[in-house]
């Protein structure tokens, strides 16, 4: 039982990180019907931003850690906006596939530039927040880092829902995701909303990057590839374009991965995760929370 609970905790903390990354994917997809391949690398940049920024702030302190995280999020928001402006906006009118290739190009560019600037070796991520191991009844070990990951993710999720549902700009985002043309007809500046969405998604990815690095403190320029893929799967699992869906998908995937890893089938973890995804999609083709869009002729 202890092991089950322990794995549950591990799974939820991993899943929280996936959820954060998945949110970025799903938001951009909702608005632009486009899979931002470079998102996983913004995650990586966030981690490295945290790594370098941490030198200017006190280690092992809440204030310092929070400051680093916020700054990294701002930095990556800016990065996301710049990428959108330079690489994606010119192609928005054209076919979806051209943007996809550009996104792949941007992803490779970030990875390789990162390798050039940061060096390809693994770097040790510093201890941002004070770490304590909380021993719970029954022999469970909860790391304060894990608690932090839940907490930050939950806070960001609530914040995001608030923005999307209760603010003017959130309403604008939803409008643009329903229908571009209609939105601009009612006076929404589509370009600005799209930039904002990218910025928001990238900020979340950066937060995810830092939280992930707190859990697994070894960072390298290619660290985003696998988590990015899994987060993307999570987003699709939950119904792509659906914000709560992305969160649900992320948590679910984190849990599945952790439990399978701890079982006899640990070498099949990725395959099992995908197989489950495929099964779910066969029975619910629009994902768990997605609405199946009947094709209008």
């Amino acid at each position: 039982m202890t092991e089950f609970l322990q794995q549950l905790i591990n799974g939820l903390s991993l899943g929280s990180v996936y959820a954060l990354i998945a949110l970025g994917y799903t938001m951009v997809y909702g608005i632009l019907r486009f899979i931002n391949f470079a998102h996983s690398d913004v995650f990586m940049v966030g981690a490295f931003a945290g790594f370098y920024l941490s030198r200017y702030f006190p280690r092992e302190s809440f204030g310092g850690g929070l400051a680093v995280m916020l700054l990294a999020m701002l930095l990556c928001a800016a990065l996301g906006i710049v990428i959108e402006r330079l690489a994606y906006r010119p192609l928005r009118k054209g076919s979806n596939l051209a943007v996809l290739i550009t996104a792949i190009g941007v992803s490779m560019l970030l990875e390789n530039t990162g390798q050039l600037i940061f060096g390809a070796d693994y770097k040790a991520f510093p201890t941002l927040f004070p770490v304590r191991t909380i021993v719970m009844p029954g022999g469970l070990d909860l790391s304060s880092n894990q608690l932090l990951v839940f907490g930050v993710t939950a806070a960001l999720l609530i914040g995001l829902q608030f923005i999307v549902l209760k603010t003017k700009i959130g309403t604008a985002m939803r409008a643009v995701s329903f229908n571009h043309q209609a939105a601009s007809l009612v006076g929404i500046n589509n370009d600005r909303i799209i930039s904002f969405t990218f910025g928001l998604g990238s900020a979340l990815a950066a937060a995810g990057g830092i939280l992930y690095s707190m859990l697994y403190p070894s960072i390298d320029p290619y660290m985003g590839v696998l988590p990015g893929l899994k987060a993307f799967v999570a987003a699709v699992l939950g119904g792509i374009g659906n914000i709560p869906g992305a969160a649900l998908g992320g948590l679910l995937l984190g849990l599945i991965e952790t439990f399978v890893n701890g079982s006899r089938f640990s070498t099949y973890t990725d395959a099992i995760a995908f197989a489950l995804l495929i099964l779910i999609l066969i029975f619910r083709p629009a994902g768990l929370l997605g609405k199946f869009q009947a094709e209008k002729v």
Partner: protein, 377 residues
């Protein structure tokens, strides 16, 4: 149509090979491939520094056979699949007389068939998996092999760590790791020890808690981790987080300063075997350490020392052969007896391997300290 035009133009472009400048006779070209970038960048960079240092020294002393040496280095990015093309390019287009590389057994294995086929000698500085030199008679190594390393580590576990029950955590995606795990297990069980549990991971994984939890349940007295430093740091951390207090030890794949920066407190007190320690007091070693530090601002490790020795040995063989022709250099290499390397006396045996002593290092205060030196039987 367009496709063919592009093909033609591109091939024409490929024809421009960069000719080295420098007056006088054509230099002797030595090829080197290493993981200068990518996951195991420190392996490649250290190895390259060592090789480069040797080549510069040799050139200052007049080169060999009256000609200067030119080192052509290519980066395989720590990736599978690049080594073969690189070897082909260096041999067929750049006309190297011999190839130095690689640190990782998996990548040496990729290039070896190409060298063997082209009759170009290849010297691996530190690939320890036996399969490497089995590819053919043009493939050599100047380091010990994993059967030896496994046996020595088993001995170390029994005699120094004094443990009888060990768990093994192997990187199942790494030829070196799997090989070393097997040889350790064989030697350890033969000496009366028991391997209480064996778990696997895949190089690049970040989360090992599942495997470590199972290992913990088997109550080992020590854990053997025959992987690369890139993963060991994280493994050690997570082991300590799971309250696993027993000693951890591994092989020469641990050898990198990065082990300490990633592993931090968790790797303090752990042990690993390798080929060379800069702590050794012999004048030759201390002189090498000083030269290396002066040039590169960092203390050399085993990969650097072996990189240095591989270049030195190659040039010595060329000198003995009196020519750079493949078959003669190969024969000279095979005939090497007691070549004075920084990493020890190098004698090439009939398998084209070298029987060298191992050093056991312990991590202490973020640095590696020499614990003991063991020669394989």
């Amino acid at each position: 149509m367009l496709g063919w035009l592009i093909l033609a133009a591109a091939l024409a472009g490929c024809h421009k090979s960069d000719e080295p400048s420098g007056g006088g006779a054509e230099p002797i070209k030595i090829g080197e491939f290493a993981s200068l970038t990518g996951k195991e960048a420190t392996f490649g960079q250290m190895s390259h520094h060592g090789t480069e240092l040797a080549v510069n020294e040799l050139n200052k002393a007049g080169g060999v056979l009256g000609k200067q040496l030119q080192l052509l280095t290519e980066d395989d990015q720590s990736k599978q699949g690049e080594a073969k093309t690189i070897a082909r390019k260096l041999i067929s287009r750049d006309n190297i007389v011999a190839l130095l590389g690689e640190v990782a057994s998996g990548r040496s294995l990729e290039a070896a068939p190409v060298c063997q086929e082209s009759k170009i000698p290849q010297i691996s500085p530190s690939s320890t998996n036996p399969k490497v030199t089995q590819i053919g008679d043009y493939i050599f190594r100047i380091c010990f092999t994993d059967p030896q390393q496994g046996a020595v580590l088993a001995q170390f576990a029994q005699n120094t760590l004094k443990v009888k029950r060990v768990a093994v955590l192997t990187d199942a995606a790494n030829t070196y790791s799997v090989g070393l795990a097997t040889y350790f297990r064989e030697a350890f069980t033969k000496a009366g020890g028991t391997v209480v549990d064996e778990q696997k991971y895949s190089g690049g994984d970040k989360d090992f808690k599942a495997q470590l939890t199972t290992i913990k349940a088997a109550s080992p007295e020590a854990i053997f981790i025959p992987g690369y430093y890139t993963d060991v740091g994280l493994i050690a951390r997570q082991a300590r987080e799971l309250d696993i207090k027993v000693p951890l030890f591994g092989g020469d794949g641990w050898e990198s300063q990065e082990l300490c920066s990633i592993g931090g407190e968790a790797v303090e007190g752990t042990y690993f075997s390798t080929h060379f320690s800069p702590d050794e007091k012999s004048p030759a070693i201390q002189e090498f350490v000083k030269k290396f530090q002066d040039k590169y601002n960092v203390t050399p490790d085993a990969m650097a020392a072996l990189g240095y020795d591989s270049a030195m040995l190659l040039v010595d063989a060329i000198k003995r052969a009196g020519t750079t022709a493949g078959p003669q250099v190969r024969d000279a290499l095979a005939a090497t007896r007691n070549f004075p390397g920084i990493t020890g006396q190098i004698t090439i045996d009939e398998h084209r391997d070298a029987k060298k002593p191992l050093v056991i290092l312990q991590v202490s205060g973020g640095k590696f300290h020499l614990v003991e030196k063991i020669s394989p039987e």
